[in-house]
Symmetry: C2
Subunit: 417 residues, 2 copies
């Protein structure tokens, strides 16, 4: 028996990326192509909050052109959120609200686009619906610059950060190489990665040889040894004249404390989260006397759509469209995923994994990917990472500035619940 | 009487840029095209130090392809330096060394590529040569991301930083707009500009309306008023939900002290140069309670060749080639420069200005370019800046990474002086 047409809900969650909107584009275009299965596609304003507060955006008002250009637009077009659902065994309040909104708006499909926490949210909602015999199919769409989701080759968003990080390291490396004779000897780039060193690792794609930048990579997976690190900086400068360091924000000292939190106090004696890069710069300057420059990329790295990876954009888009396919096929409580089929040439295929196997699992950089001295990547890591940054996917430009989509984001009239 | 063929010297000085090598490319290609005027083109290893230490690079060993791709390569291919010549009335030592090296290697042309200090160096050498009847023509080639040289429409290097800054502000602005409902409310981007606010000003090209990022720009030309600033942040958040701030590194408080130097102390009580961005983030967090994210672009901004401005690349190249023309025409003690001919469409022409009028003059952001509240730019500033970021000039890519030139940099055999 053919299922009756129902509405779908899509929302973006957690830290946004350069390509999360490419997934949104994939979802919207696939739903529009499959009108026999779907009525409207509603987007949640600010992630799951849009459902909880009944703040639904009617995507049917957006033009084909704007939707197509969403593929090229960074940020989260519908707004994102950081909101963790409680366990429904402890508190059902939110879940009941969700089901009320889904019922009121005849929502039969729930697409949630995010990282580990968001897959956990989808998994919880799927379970709650199953237990309560409530007919909503929940499909997760992966996204995280941290690349820390399990059971997927790469997480959409990571590839573009990786490309940005590798290129920034290459370019800043050429700069400091020019300056080191009479000025800056050390350059430190701080990148994201609170618990997993994937982004820091990707800086190694800047150059094939360790003799070139980045000379030193600091991973959250490796405890920081001050003496050993300073010796490494010194010997790098002796050999090459300068030293480029890429540090994960999450680097910890031997006491397990974030470097970014250690030492600095403001004028009132409050401890100051100054970032790893300025901490390392001060350390090197004080202990070794070298002139340092440092950069903290922060949001620039994850929003840098202008230098997005073609592979990343393609995968992000494909995952969005595939999530809709999975819904049409009747799948539930699964995440759209990517499996590597071959390495050289890089080939991948779409696949699905159970949400229960993804939720709350964090994929760190495995030890086989970290060089034996702890300061660089291995060849197997390089092989794994290289295909991901391949290809460019430049946005259109007007007067020197990328043309990014702006949406009407017309709200659906609230219903009495 | 036709002048006899002699060798030429070219060197790069001061902080390097995304396009200083485009000027180098212009010089080298023009010299190669004019073999009847020039023998060899030597490059100084690390700027003027290459001449002082007789460390000369013979550019004739570089392939046509590598030289052509220099136009796309950031950093300073021959190395740069920070070295200020003393006044020759106080100390002639360096000048005598230079003339010895020029004589020994039959150098009749001195091309120096740099900012204000470097034009001062060229000017001093030109004067010293004139006084001593020493036949070397000195031609300055402008370069500085700070855009603070007088008598030139734009300084090569600035346009690409401006483009990088505007795009980064646009992209990070979209990111924080997505996050602000439940997380980050304020994003601060720190950019270069110790004394002049040109780079900070260029962030305004991200959007045409002040209602969109950047909402607040902090210039070194305007003293920082904490209370007024915090009120501005708060009202921006009330109106728009979030606030994007772009701050020059050189912002000073009412006592004339750099914000970057105020307040922070390390664990040993040493005052800490933590950057303006983390200082502002801490201030906003402490006084207003908003969650802040901050980025410090540092070398990333001036080396970002991947997103260079086409106009900037063209001007940098043209100035290099034109400096050679000026030398052929017998000019001395001048700087190759650019004059704006028309605004819309933007047209420019090459011109020359006396080095004496350029040396030691710093062009700050004029008050007519700063909005009356001191936190944004005026329309006339926007008109001035817009053409400069126009056009893209992407490098070639291989495996996802730009292909940048590497030189042999073969040294000339030293001669006994």
């Amino acid at each position: 028996m053919k299922k009756k047409k129902r509405n779908a809900f899509y929302a973006q969650s957690g830290g946004v990326t350069a390509v999360i909107n490419a997934s949104a584009c994939g979802v919207i275009e696939a739903v529009r192509k499959n009108k026999k299965y779907f009525n409207k596609l509603y987007a949640g304003k600010n992630g799951i909050l849009g459902a909880l507060k009944q703040e639904l955006i009617d995507t049917s008002y957006e033009s084909k052109t704007d939707i197509s250009n969403l593929k090229n637009t960074p940020g989260g077009i519908f707004g994102s959120c950081r909101y963790k659902l409680k366990d429904f065994n402890d508190d059902e309040t939110d879940y009941k609200k969700l089901l009320d909104v889904f019922s009121a708006h005849d929502i039969g499909y729930f697409f949630y686009n995010g990282g580990g926490d968001s897959q956990d949210t989808s998994n919880k909602i799927a379970k709650f619906c199953q237990i309560n015999n409530f007919d909503v199919q929940c499909i997760g769409i992966p996204k995280t610059v941290d690349n820390d989701l399990p059971l997927i080759d790469f997480c959409p968003g990571f590839g573009s950060v990786a490309k940005y990080t590798a290129i920034s390291t290459l370019e800043a490396g050429l700069d400091v190489a020019s300056m080191c004779a009479t000025s800056t000897k050390v350059f430190i780039l701080e990148v994201m990665g609170r618990h997993a060193g994937w982004i820091a690792a990707s800086s190694a794609l800047a150059n094939e040889s360790r003799k070139k930048p980045p000379h030193i990579i600091l991973f959250p997976e490796i405890l920081f040894d001050e003496k050993n690190f300073l010796n490494n900086v010194q010997s790098t400068i002796s050999k090459h004249g300068f030293c480029v360091i890429v540090a994960s924000e999450g680097v910890k000292n031997k006491k397990g404390k974030f470097l970014a939190e250690s030492g600095l106090k403001d004028a009132f004696g409050h401890s100051q989260l100054g970032g790893v890069a300025p901490f390392l710069a001060e350390l090197i300057k004080t202990k070794k006397g070298y002139k340092c420059h440092w950069a903290v990329a922060d949001y620039l790295q994850r929003s840098a759509r202008h230098i997005a990876s073609q592979t990343d954009v393609e995968q992000a888009y494909a995952l969005g469209a595939y999530a809709v396919d999975l819904a049409i096929k009747g799948e539930n409580a699964v995440m759209a995923s990517i499996k590597r089929v071959s390495e050289n040439p890089y080939k991948w295929k779409l696949t699905k994994v159970p949400l229960s196997k993804v939720a709350n699992v964090e994929k760190k950089l495995p030890s086989k990917f970290i060089s034996s001295d702890g300061y660089h990547i291995t060849n197997s890591c390089r092989k794994y990472l290289t295909p991901l940054i391949d290809g460019e996917n430049f946005p259109k430009f007007n007067k020197g500035i990328p043309v990014y989509s702006e949406f009407k984001n017309k709200m659906v009239k609230k219903k009495k619940l």
